[in-house]
Amino acid sequence: MTTKYSNLSLESHNLSVTAAPITSLPVQEEMRTKAAPITSLPVREEMTTKYSNLTLESHSISMTAMPMKENNKGNQICVDRGIMLQRNVTLERPNMPAEKNITLERPSNVELTCQFTPSGNLNSVNVTWKKGDKLLEDNYLVNATGSILYTQYRVAVINSKQMGSYSCFFGEKKQQRGTFNLKVPEINGKNKPLITYVGDSVVLICKCQDCLPLNWTWYTGNGSVQVPIGVPVNDKYVISGKHANETKLKITQLSEDDQGTYWCHAIFELGESEGHVELVVLSYLVPLKAFCAIAAEVVLLVAIILLFEKYTQKKKKPSDDGKEIEQGEQLKLDDSNGIENSGPRHRKNESVGQ
């Protein structure tokens, strides 16, 4: 079995759980022998040699059960010893579960490491690993450096059976827990429903950010039942995709029956992931009603304004006759004034001309 997995990538993930001031070395060594079944080592070594030409991923989570003051001391100690653990040490509330989500696409070796700084004696800490609820017997190491307890679990993830959540437990006064969730990459469909019209065509897109699935399949959702879409059946459905990380489903000649949720499944070696797109099919009457309402309002306003204009014009006309008569009188006055004035002006011009 192990020879088959020689081309797998190695991924290493660390979780550190810190809790307490230093304890003496001999005790730690005892702890080591107690917690870590050395017999398992050779098996692990075998596995690692097979998978050594693979990529390694490391993830780490730090947990601490210590109160603030003591934790500071712990930090100082870290600095003194020059161990670059400081960046892994984070202050969290006690008993808060530390969790990490790991996205796996291809079969790989996964190395999960938990760090724990106990508040009390290192000896009193009981280290266990679980997958889901099942207790894991082998494939893990326990190590202690200074005041920090490490435990490492390695697993070769080949198919979907090895995916899931792995937890490391540090049993002390209160049990500290760190969880690694191994998942396949998520698919993005669309959050908002797609609106289309009867007789129209639509393109549904499902995308995956940085992954390359082996295959894509589409299903229509009928409540909780998913019915696969058969491509060669008719021209109505066309599945295509320019790049491997996206898939497009084109549906033509839409009718109201096509309304609903569409699921896109991305198939990886390590399992399946799905995204969904909601399709809403409206009839043309829906926006047409809004349009007709606006058009009616426009016609009404135009009619009102034009009628108002005619009304004010009619009002002006009878009063205008009066104004014209007044203007005529004014003109007569002006003319008479003009005649009077032109006399002296006339004389002036004559004198100028001379």
């Binding site: 609106i195 809004a290 349009f291 606006i294 058009a295 426009v298 304004i305 034009l306 100028v352």
Partner: protein, 477 residues
Amino acid sequence: MAKVNRARSTSPPDGGWGWMIVAGCFLVTICTRAVTRCISIFFVEFQTYFSQDYAQTAWIHSIVDCVTMLCAPLGSVVSNHFSCQVGIMLGGLLASTGLILGSFATSLKHLYLTLGVLTGLGFALCYSPAIAMVGKYFSRRKALAYGISLSGSGIGIFILAPVVQLLIEQFSWRGALLILGGFVLNLCVCGALMRPITLKEDQTTPEQNHVCRTRTQDLKRASSCSTWTKEWVQTCLCSSLQQEYSFLLMSDFVVLAISVLFMAYGCSPLFVYFVPYALSVGVTHQQAAFLMSILGVIDIIGNITFGWLTDRRCLKNYQYVCYLFAIGLDGLCYLCLPMLQSLPLLVPFACTFGYFDGAYVTLIPVVTAEIVGTTSLSSALGVVYFLHAVPYLVSPPIAGWLVDTTGSYTAAFLLCGFSMIFSSLLLGFARVVKKMKKTQLRLLAKESDPKMQLWTNGSVAYSVARELDQKDGESAL
């Protein structure tokens, strides 16, 4: 002798129904300029639906803008020969038809024709006549009226952008285009509001048209030969067109036209390249969007406040100077822009540029009215907006080419800055030359006939000075 005013000609009311005209023009600006800008919100939808890239879909916006500006003279011709009401209502119907047909489009080419050409043509028929109408109804508060009407562009974008987004989410782009078509139908309401007004200055042209018409009628009765009538109609049309576009030969207008070319070349790239420039100096996407919002809001404030400001008695005679000052300041801002490399420096830039951008946009119709008078204002505005079209089309690609070849935005911004400063200097220079000519004429008038000076209380020297003042009055109104 005083002429008899048979027609109900008045002086500009400066209020009353004028405010309804302002409201109508405000709505026209919203329905044309703001809707044009909001079309770009549809681009993402068009890209996914028609599987085209951004460059292909962006053509729609360019076509609408270009056709709106290029056909602006057509708009003024239609509204001069029929009436403003008919012109704007026709434009509203055309634009609405374009949008409605666009909602049934099955390819991007259909959208170019319907959404691009048809809607653009409809907008062109509405835009310049509406603005010209405001000029006819106001003289004392002209700049304020223009400020309020033209602020519709900024306020419209503010309101319409989220509304269009909501419409697309609820009804998809087809339904949204249909409803937008209904909204644009409100241009007909604006058209109905544009009650015609005959001003005292408009006395001569109706008479000439009347003469032309009576001549054609006589000829129709006299001979049944249709070719004669056609010739007369053509000559009458030619003469009326000649009279309408007589301002094209005015030196003042030619100077304004050239300065508008350079000004339009300078101002358009900023709205395209400000956000990419801000992103390139390290501003985040949200901060860049915030800068654009500041630009838009301050633009609106600049529209209205600068309009109010230049209507004050102290600045009323200096509207031309304020106009060239605003353009010059915008050009200076452009020159400073490459030196502003962080957000705290870009915010004051956005405020200043936005304010003076709104300021000179308000004053374009005011200055045009000063130069050509209110009779030819509609046609003049048509020509001015027509001159905006080619720079708007040409400037962003040239700026983009400069950015690509030089690798930075400095060259593009400097070119735009110098273009605007040149426009401002040209206007200033022309005004200085005109003043010098005027003082020369005055000196000539005084020196030409010493005998006349004896009669300085009389008519001669008074009439020469009056002539000069009248010329001033025509150009300064």
